[in-house]
Subunit: 263 residues, 2 copies
DNA sequence: ACCTGAACACCGTTCAAGT
DNA sequence: ACCTGAACACCGTTCAAGT
């Protein structure tokens, strides 16, 4: 019966608003002297997010956050139950950044794409945060807000409620996965300093090209096709496929179709 | 120039074949006396996979694998470069389990779905292995084999090569994400012993139902719709959307469409 | 109520030394 | 070439004690 199963528990950061990264120094002009700012859940989430941007998911630890906040790791546990809850809060902060459009029946499909682009953009600003999505089930305020917004857009497009609900799940999984994949590449680029994106793509392309042609006839002959569109083209294709697939569930499409078939 | 950037390096387990989990005891009848079997990359991967099934991704460590193999953690590093490479090998073993159908132009779309169902089924057999996918870019033999097979199916469906290539990326991200999400639920079910799936769904449903109706009119009124289809219905919907979206790129569909429009 | 130091029970990885 | 013990530099989390 207890709702702790879902680790939702309406966190205090619900009212948090925009990402609002504050400067690291204390309130006074002498940061060494000024007694440290009081610890809050928000400050912990801010710091986690900031570090995920700088060093990726694996680089952020309870201890690294505590260090930056000039305290010990144990102190964090007064505001955050554990690492999993912190991941929840981080993901929810990112979800909260996505602007939710007023549904317009004439361009509901394009509005869905806009929401998705906005979500990916925010993830891109904080590589590393994406991995946090994969460690939790997003059920915080921001995630619910987005789900509500998406449902409303789908209804504007005459998509049946069940399809809309499942579509929300589908698309948020897709965006999370894309963000994680991009984060892996960007972390790898940091390690291998020689890896400017262009060179990497070229190298992967020739890796495909050199696969044994008898076993991999398509991959080897289509090497450049396989690695094309690392940037937005690939993602735009994904959006297009998903939204096109969703439209096949739209009631208006169904009606038009059955009319065409019926005569 | 060095291909180490991609951590592919044609692992010895290429020929590995089926999952082939062997019994834990040594070759002799007295496991304590029999000198330990020689360590191999395959045995390490087997053990990692087995543990991922039993205890999930986080429970599997270099040390836990070494312990089960009756040796110290340092010994593993003679056969596996690091944890990331091990994850690569684990994922690739799973990818290798997927049967690749002979393309049939009459049911290429259904064949794609069959491949995807098979992939998810294998992930489900090893919850935890899914999280490994999210830590790497799959480029091993098994993953390439699947990509090649998918490209062939797409060609049988007259899907342009570029669309096919991107679709392969899209669908493998989706399946990985679904598998990860399912693994999270199943791990959570293990911790909260009270959580048989039915109760959990009921609890989540009432969580949605009790959301403030003014802020979440759709989520609160559609609670049971939001949580419906936790099993295969949801996944089948995803497959249907993706394949329907893909078909809108098929040349034959395009021709039929332009013919209909052109007259 | 919030914060702290110190400790517990772990990690991945390296490295000199053995066979 | 393969394996080992011991060590290094970390983890998340707990807990009694302080304010």
């Amino acid at each position: 019966m207890s709702s702790t199963v879902f680790v939702v528990e309406t966190p205090k950061s619900w009212q948090a608003g925009p990402l609002n990264i504050r400067p690291r120094t204390g309130p006074g002009s002498d940061p060494a002297k000024a007694h440290r700012e009081r610890l809050t859940t928000d400050r912990i989430v801010d710091e986690a997010l900031e570090q995920m941007r700088e060093v990726g998911y694996d680089g952020v630890t309870m201890r690294s956050i505590a260090r930056a906040l000039d305290t010990g790791p144990a102190s964090l546990y007064a505001h955050v139950a554990n690492r999993e809850e912190l991941d929840q809060l981080v993901v929810d902060r990112i979800a909260s950044e996505v602007r939710i459009p007023e549904p317009d029946p004439d361009r509901w499909d394009e509005q869905i794409k806009e929401m998705m682009r906005a979500a990916l953009t925010t993830y891109r600003a904080y590589p590393g945060a994406a991995r946090a999505t994969m460690a939790i089930i997003p059920t915080g305020y921001g995630a619910l807000r987005n789900a509500e917004g998406l449902m409303a857009l789908c209804r504007a497009g005459n998509v049946p409620d069940q399809a809309a609900a499942w579509f929300g799940d589908l698309i948020s999984l897709y965006i999370g996965a894309v963000a994680v994949e991009e984060a892996i590449w960007s972390e790898r680029a940091k390690v291998h300093a020689d890896a400017d994106p262009e060179r990497v793509v070229a190298a992967v392309t020739s890796y495909f090209a050199e696969l044994p042609a008898d076993e991999f006839p398509m991959l080897s002959s289509l090497a450049s096709v396989m690695t094309a569109g690392v940037g937005d083209d690939r993602f735009e294709f994904g959006l297009a496929v998903l939204v096109a697939g969703l439209k096949s569930y739209s009631e208006t499409a169904r009606v038009a179709e059955s009319e065409a078939g019926g005569r």
